[in-house]
Symmetry: C2
Subunit: 239 residues, 2 copies
DNA sequence: CGGTGGATTGAGTGGCGTCAACCTGAGTGG
DNA sequence: CCACTCAGGTTGACGCCACTCAATCCACCG
């Protein structure tokens, strides 16, 4: 149930046997969502937080004139709305981007667990801090990088993140996101995603067919993306 | 010392007398920084976190070819690097954008205080969650809004934030940021900031002279910005 | 009084948006 | 088994928002 989450937490710090059990006991059974289905809505005050077990979810903001932004994408092991534990009204909607399985943790149990286990509290806090670090990197992308560079950066980031939860295969991973979804992540139009993908393929940096991305030239892709994985904090430290 | 921080925390939840004392006792004496001077550098592993007492600071990322992004701006009462408590290496630099006074809290004291007072732990966690909520709003701005709309949005946000720590005067507040700094916040060039400011002034939405911003027409400014202050979480809730 | 940082303005350019057409593959129903 | 629909990918033509380069202005200061 909490498999990918535990995997990821253990990449960042040592967990005691007791802490491991507490995390395992925290998650309720999973529920299935269809692509496009909202998991939590803007304005909601959920009494629980949601963890992705499988599939991809995104944090979506709906703006004026039908525009959309995706401020984060999440895969197995990610809390999609841990922040709602303290940040009461949701400032965005979380939607399933593919078929997903989501399990939930009631906030009162989260509160009890974090009061009893301050170290776990810090690790959960850390998860939200990494989310924020990713937000900052996306801000840099949106503000100062070209469309192709943003795409390259996203592909690099997602390789590291899928790798952390054993969902990658070398330089290849399943990426079942539509071009329109990528567009909302990158702040460009779907048409321009298409053209930029074409350029990346033409230059031999990636392959991307049928929901699977393969990085054909990691060095040149990271160079184009100006990618440095430090911000993902995938190293073990006492926290 | 911790005046503005306490003000802000108390806007978000009730603090007991004891908690108030703990927060007051946490902060070391302030230190002065000159405009442009780094407060914490990318790659550093500071043993303390910094709180702005006065002045403005920004979180800066340096990208390829001399480009810069500012992912957040901070004013009195803001922790600029509370995330370094758990996120060990800094993923960006924090610089003084104006003359600033900064006080620091050693991480070991932060750890002790949060272990003893879980409610304070949640309130500090909350501060970082609000930072993340602001990041998400900036992502929406950078991805899907025009230059003038981004400027308008920033001005609205900063009015609410200065108001929260008693630094505004009605619809007016001191905003001593250069156009080049605004440009790095908004992902546009300084030249274009200038042109967009000109348009906002021409349309009677703002006045902006000599480091002071006055909002001349709040309704039309928020409309242009598509501004909704919910994400700032400036309401009191049990957390 | 020359030097300097910042604001302002103009002219020309380019990356990306918009609109629209067309293609393909996966259903779906007759 | 095939016509039909529909979602999503692909491509072209054209336009605009914002970038680049550069000149000018102004306040401040040593």
């Amino acid at each position: 149930m909490a498999g990918s989450l535990l995997l990821k937490l253990k990449k960042r710090d040592h967990l005691s046997a007791e802490e491991t059990e507490v995390v395992k006991a925290l998650c309720a059974a999973g529920k299935a969502f269809k692509p496009g289905e909202p998991i939590v809505r803007e304005g909601d005050r959920p009494g629980f937080s949601s963890i992705v077990q499988s599939g991809w979810a995104g944090r979506v903001k709906f703006l004026a004139e039908g525009r959309r932004t995706i401020s984060a994408v999440h895969l197995a092991g990610d809390f999609v709305d841990l922040h709602s534990f303290l940040l009461k009204p949701m400032d965005h909607t979380v939607v399933a981007l593919t078929e997903c399985r989501i399990s939930t943790v009631p906030h009162d149990r989260l509160k009890a667990a974090t009061e009893r286990h301050p170290h776990l509290a810090r690790l959960f806090w850390l998860e939200t801090l990494v989310d924020a670090a990713i937000h900052r990197e996306w801000i840099a992308c949106l503000g100062r990088r070209t469309a192709a560079s943003r795409l390259a950066h996203l592909f690099c980031e997602l390789l590291m993140r899928t790798e952390a939860v054993d969902l990658s295969d070398g330089l290849s991973y399943g990426l079942p996101l539509k071009q329109a979804v990528l567009a909302d992540c990158l702040g460009i139009t779907a048409v321009h995603v298409n053209r930029s993908l074409k350029a990346l393929r033409r230059d031999g940096l990636i392959k991307f067919d049928d929901g699977r991305l393969t990085i054909a030239n990691w060095d040149r892709l990271t160079e184009l993306a100006d990618f440095d994985p430090t911000y993902l904090n995938l190293t073990s430290e006492p926290r």
